[in-house]
């Protein structure tokens, strides 16, 4: 049973890490509460489904087109919808909720409420420590690691990353310093939604695709980012692994309580918020203290 927990926790944690990377960037670093983040993930999954299953394109072109299309859409949405109300935090929340609902309804209308399955990119699996892991999940782990590395590189080794961190820290001063705040915000949104789209293309084959698939990951992502600490990529990775392991332990230790794994993750998030709002590795900003 121990090997099961070790392997399952790692694999599931990897899935969550990939989903959390983009969300950590937009929410943790840029402090834009984008409720529609997982809705973009859903759009990318549907786009990938339509291109690969209905259109018959190969994996690479379908994935590339999905990611690019969703990213462009997100920039458009940001310009039209979020930017005008950027200053009112509550308005941003509502605008993104409304966007997410619009995407959900559009998908419901176009594809129906049925559950759809995307074929895995890699078939087959291997046995590690006596536990069988499908190749698709290993692919997810690899992609997650790659995405994390890329984001870390962009944030800490490029000027754009520096600008993103600066605007998140203090928007007014960054503006005064001469940075084009609008463009940086668009770049942040584009980057984070691109990550969500990549997750949609790689992770969606493991789960089912339906118009409501954006709700459950949203809550888990919030829990992970809060646990890991807003503003820290490393924190989000650790948070994802922690939540993955906690869920695996819940299922293995308490099989009849397997349905509680969601509530346990949330309880952890609440506990973290109460005891140490910055999370494990978070960077708390002055106004938030």
């Amino acid at each position: 049973m121990l090997q099961d927990i070790l392997v399952t926790g790692l694999v599931n944690g990897g899935v969550y890490a990939l989903l959390a990377v983009g969300f950590s960037l937009i929410f943790g670093v840029a402090r834009i509460v984008n409720i529609a983040h997982t809705a973009f993930y859903m759009l990318a999954a549907y786009c990938f489904y339509a291109l690969q299953v209905k259109g018959g394109l190969g994996f690479v072109p379908a994935a590339a087109i999905s990611v690019v299309a969703v990213t462009l859409l997100s920039v458009l949405c940001y310009r039209l919808v979020i930017e005008p109300v950027r200053e009112h935090e509550a308005a941003v929340l509502i605008a993104t909720i409304a966007l997410a609902l619009i995407f959900q309804e559009l998908m419901l209308f176009s594809f129906g409420g049925h559950y759809l399955g995307i074929p895995s990119t890699l078939e087959g699996g291997i046995r590690v420590l006596g536990v069988s892991i499908p190749y698709q999940r290993l692919l997810i782990l690899v992609v997650a690691a790659a995405m994390l590395a890329i984001v870390w590189f962009v944030l800490y080794r490029t000027r754009l990353g520096l600008a993103i961190r600066a605007t998140a820290n203090d928007l007014e001063v960054a503006n005064l310093m001469g940075m084009n705040v609008q463009r940086i915000a668009m770049a942040t949104v584009a980057l984070s939604v691109a990550l969500a789209a990549v997750a949609g293309v790689v992770v969606a084959p493991v789960f089912v695709v339906d118009p409501f698939m954006w709700l459950a990951p949203l809550v888990t992502m919030l829990a992970i980012v809060v646990l890991g600490g807003l503003g820290s990529m490393k924190g989000s990775l650790i948070g994802a692994l922690v939540i993955g392991y906690v869920e695996a332990i819940t299922v293995f230790a308490l099989p009849a309580g397997a349905y509680l794994k969601g509530a346990v993750a949330l309880a952890i998030m609440v506990a973290v918020l109460l005891v140490r709002p910055e999370g494990l590795f978070g960077v708390a900003f002055e106004e938030e203290r």
Partner: protein, 405 residues
């Protein structure tokens, strides 16, 4: 202004309809989803067949059937369902109500229908409470009858009957005395009794229960549960799943190459889209079901074929709205009236050869359970097709297959 115009139009329509002799039947269901689609499709088939034959005859006068579409959206919102049923009763002046799917919503809708004393034929919700209400407060709830499915406790009887049959096959093929069964039930009220019954009955059937796993009904990932089940060495995974977790189970069992076979209730597994939703991996997943091209009654095969030809997909159990309308027709023609109070005793005594089985009602206005009559059938997914395999003596049944070891 618009409201009064609509009211005038509705009144005009209904009075015109009365003059011509129209019977309004409201079909209530989540029309954007598979269940509502099947509700409507089954009803349309019944309406067209009856109207083409001249309509329902009440003592010499002929009445055509008019269907009213009531989109309850019950999967997403219970108040929407009660709004919809009130609308079809008061605005659209429905005479009879058929449909429903989500038990929580149907319980609320039942209250509204009983307030207005309209006959409400259930075509989707299995919860016993709906029938219990009839027994406990007959005068209020007598207008409710459940056409499909059989109530939840009777589903259990079918499940164990088939489990026995599969157990025999495993004993023969794998040369093991006590097949091992893993219980995989979503956490829900309807599975509580089933899980308890399984834990009690299976040892008595000479099968060992190796563990009980209860994921959430909307879980999209069951790797942890399946890993544990793998390790336990189970031969059969007894599934009690109604939500999308059924798809995840089918797919992930296939992806892991599990040697155990899944049998039980897997509502997603009853749908045509299941194979695609599980990305073609759900080989050997078996589930309780209602419709297949087998001769449960002389009407089954023609109905299923006609349904497939018209709607390009196989019917789910919700399409029994067809049977519901046929039962109404028989009852109205026998009682020579459309008054609810007079129809209730007629329906209580009816024995209707329907499309899925032969329907009779008990004192809770639930279907009387009997193998070959109303117990349903068992199907298994083999190479992208649902293959019926139980009850084995009915014409059209094929053998049950298991993963190679």
């Amino acid at each position: 202004m618009i409201r009064s115009a609509m009211l005038c139009a509705a009144l005009a329509l209904s009075s015109a309809a009365l003059a011509q002799g129209t019977l309004k039947i409201a079909i209530l269901g989540p029309m954007a989803f598979v269940q509502g689609e099947n509700h409507w499709a089954g009803a349309e088939m019944a309406r067209d067949e009856i109207n083409k034959a001249g309509g329902i005859s009440i003592g010499g006068k002929r009445m055509q059937i008019e269907l009213i579409r009531g989109d309850t959206n019950e999967i997403q919102s219970v108040p929407d369902a009660t709004n919809a049923i009130e609308r079809v009763i008061t605005r659209d002046k429905a005479d009879f109500l058929i449909g429903g799917f989500r038990s929580e919503a149907v319980l609320a809708m039942q209250e509204v229908a009983m307030d207005y004393k309209k006959i409400f034929l259930g075509a989707g919700a299995a919860h016993s409470k709906l029938g219990l209400n009839v027994e406990q407060n007959y005068d209020r709830y007598k207008y409710w009858f459940r056409i499909t499915p059989v109530k939840d406790v009777d589903l259990a009887r079918t499940l164990f009957a088939v489990m026995n049959s599969i157990g025999q096959q495993i004993r023969a093929e794998l040369k093991t005395d006590t097949p091992k069964v893993a219980l995989l039930a979503e956490k829900a009220v309807w599975t509580e009794a089933l899980v308890a019954a399984a834990q009690k009955n299976l040892p008595a059937m000479k099968m060992e229960v190796v563990g009980t796993w209860q994921p959430s009904a909307t879980a999209t990932d069951v790797t942890a549960e399946l890993s544990a089940i793998d390790r336990s060495g189970a031969h059969i995974v007894f599934t009690m799943l109604s939500g999308p977790v059924g798809i995840s189970v089918g797919r992930q069992m296939g992806e892991r190459g599990m040697k155990a076979v899944a049998w039980g209730i897997n509502v997603e597994g009853q749908k045509e889209e299941f194979w695609q939703a599980a990305a073609g991996k759900a080989q050997f997943v078996s589930t309780l079901d209602t419709y297949a091209e087998v001769e449960m009654t002389p009407k089954t095969i023609p109905f299923v074929r006609a349904f497939k030809a018209r709607f390009k997909k196989a019917p789910t159990y919700n399409a029994a709205t067809y049977d519901a309308i046929m039962i109404l027709k028989s009852a109205i023609e026998e009682a020579r009236t459309t008054e609810a109070d007079k129809l209730v005793p007629v329906i209580e005594k009816i024995e209707h050869v329907g499309t899925a089985g032969t329907d009779t009602f008990d004192k809770r206005h639930d279907l009387v359970w009997a193998v070959g009559k109303t117990a349903g059938i068992a199907v298994q997914w083999q190479d992208g097709k649902k293959v019926p395999f139980w009850p084995p003596n009915i014409k059209g049944m094929q053998p049950f297959k298991m993963p190679a070891r």
